[in-house]
């Protein structure tokens, strides 16, 4: 009998717990309308970047392609014509394709790139209806030329929906000679920490 009374008490306690939960703060983030701040070093969609004078950074060396553990990157390089250069180096990427369905977003391409041409942005909303459209060519990976001149790619008119990170200003072609430039990473970190605080 006492055990049964104890059970009644347990049920009442359970009821009080569920009732209390009704008034708790719900951790749901209503995704399409409210977006969660991603981690500062989030690996999202790739971007092929340019120098400030609109030349492509990619020199078609295929190091990203060989570094890629998922074999997601295809680079076909070509010689630059001396009068109409596409990249400052000898060669440029005639075709540059990333299969985003194969990609595991590890960021090794980014690390392998000697010119900081391929970069993982924090963009992650890439859903589509066809498999074929997940093969991103230069048309979608490359930052538009007008955005490269003195303007950070993410300050493009209209901006990028869902893009919370800010890529720091791209330095001009000449800065490459001075070696690897990591300042843009720091820029991302700073703005994103600010974003995290407001969450």
């Amino acid at each position: 009998m006492r055990k049964h009374l104890f059970n009644v008490g347990a049920i009442l306690r359970g009821l009080s717990i569920t009732f209390g939960y009704m008034f708790r703060k719900r951790p749901t983030i209503e995704y399409p309308s409210v977006k969660k701040q991603h981690a500062p070093r989030f690996h999202g969609l790739h971007e092929l970047r340019r120098y400030e004078d609109a030349k492509e950074r990619c020199i078609g060396c295929e190091l990203c392609s060989s570094a890629c553990p998922a074999n997601a990157i295809t680079v076909i390089g070509a010689e630059n014509a001396p009068d109409a250069r596409i990249s400052p180096g000898e060669r440029y990427a005639a075709r540059y394709e990333i299969d985003e369905l194969r990609c595991i977003f590890c960021g090794m391409c980014e690390e392998a790139c000697p010119t900081d041409a391929i970069v993982l942005t924090p963009r992650f909303e890439m859903s589509d209806y066809r498999r074929g459209s997940f093969i991103y060519g230069k048309d979608r990976l490359l930052v538009p030329p007008d955005a490269g001149r003195g303007q950070a790619p993410d300050d493009r008119p209209g901006g990028i929906p869902g893009d919370l990170g800010r890529v720091a200003k791209i330095k001009s072609t000449t800065d490459v000679a001075e070696g690897y430039d990591a300042t843009w990473r720091g820029g991302i970190l700073k703005t994103q920490r600010k974003g995290l605080g407001s969450l």
Partner: protein
């Protein structure tokens, strides 16, 4: 008033009541999903319309557009008929439920002097919908579900009826109007506390809701008696479940919580509003139970019904009868 024939009055009232009950069902469903969500730290449905208020309409549209399948092995006539039996019995109870002081006959369709017996009788037919539906599906899980439903409803109906009788002895009448009028001073949950608790427990079992939803225990029986049903026919079972929930809430309010009598002498608020509030509290209680309690094991459910509820209900009845006789 004399100019309108009685049948027309009843027809109009029935139409209004049907509309009210179906709307209540729709929003009870939304409320249940909301309450369950909140208790599980989720926001609940909130995509369709502001605050998810159009969700019932979206669900209805979805159910109507879905294919209505009949399994090959099913008994086609009974299979198609069963949801209607469930729904019809669920709705017809409201013919005798008074929602307000019905001396003038405004707040009830029919003021039957044996209302409570009629309600018991009609709700008992409701089990046919469930058991025939499960049986006629010609499939194992629905059959198990309907067998469970039959056994569970019969065993809990006994204790439920016994818990009614205590109230009937105190009120001295079987008319629902009379029972509510007998509660102007004391709501019957005070003198009939044991009966009230038994009624609430059996009502959960009668409506096949958690923790007594063995009939549609998804972990064991897929979806129980309505496994094979789809589309609108499933929707009818669904409506019947919620309307039954509303019915037992109404009965609990009428029998134990003073119906439309205002608490603490707050008579400036109309009785109907008190009635609706009390029914709403009961509906919330059922959702609350569902969010809290796990499902009982089947043998324990039966043991609880026969070895605990029935003896306690009988004892309660004997004590009540003795006290009333000696007074």
């Amino acid at each position: 008033m004399n100019a309108i024939p009685l049948w027309l009055v009843v027809l109009i009232k029935s139409g209004i009541l049907l509309f009210v009950v179906i709307t209540t069902f729709a929003y009870a469903m939304l409320a249940e999903r909301k309450v369950l969500g909140w208790m599980q730290l989720r926001p609940g449905p909130n995509r369709v319309g502001p605050w998810g208020l159009m969700q019932p309409a979206a669900d209805a549209a979805k159910l109507m557009l879905k294919e209505d399948l009949t399994p090959k092995s099913a008994d086609p006539l009974i299979y198609r008929l069963a949801p209607f039996i469930s729904l019809l019995t669920a709705f017809s109870v409201y013919a005798v439920v008074p929602f307000g002081a019905s001396s003038s006959g405004t707040w009830a369709i029919g003021n039957v002097n044996a209302g409570i017996l009629l309600i018991l009788a009609i709700t008992s037919i409701g089990v046919y919908g469930v058991s025939l539906g499960g049986w006629a599906s010609g499939s194992k899980y629905p059959l198990l579900g309907s067998v469970r439903a039959t056994a569970q409803m019969i065993s809990y109906e006994l204790a439920m009826a016994l818990s009614f009788i205590g109230v009937l002895i105190l009120a001295g009448t079987t008319s629902l109007d009379g029972i509510v009028n007998a509660q102007t001073r004391w709501w019957f949950f005070v003198p009939q506390f044991v009966g009230c608790v038994i009624y609430i427990i059996t009502a959960v079992a009668e409506t096949n809701r958690t923790p007594f939803d063995l009939v549609e225990a998804e972990t064991e029986l897929v979806a129980g008696f309505h496994t094979e049903y789809s589309g609108l026919r499933f929707g009818l079972f669904f409506i019947a479940e919620y309307v039954n929930m509303l019915t037992v809430s109404c009965i609990a309010t009428l029998l134990f919580f003073g119906g439309w009598n205002a608490p603490l002498g707050l008579t400036m608020v109309p009785g109907v509003i008190w009635f609706v509030l009390k029914v709403g509290c009961f509906m919330f209680f059922y959702m609350w139970l569902r969010a809290t309690l796990p499902r009982l094991r089947y043998d324990r459910l039966m043991a609880f019904g026969w070895k605990v509820l029935l003896p306690v209900a009988t004892l309660n009845l004997v004590v009540t009868a003795t006290v009333v006789a000696l007074r």
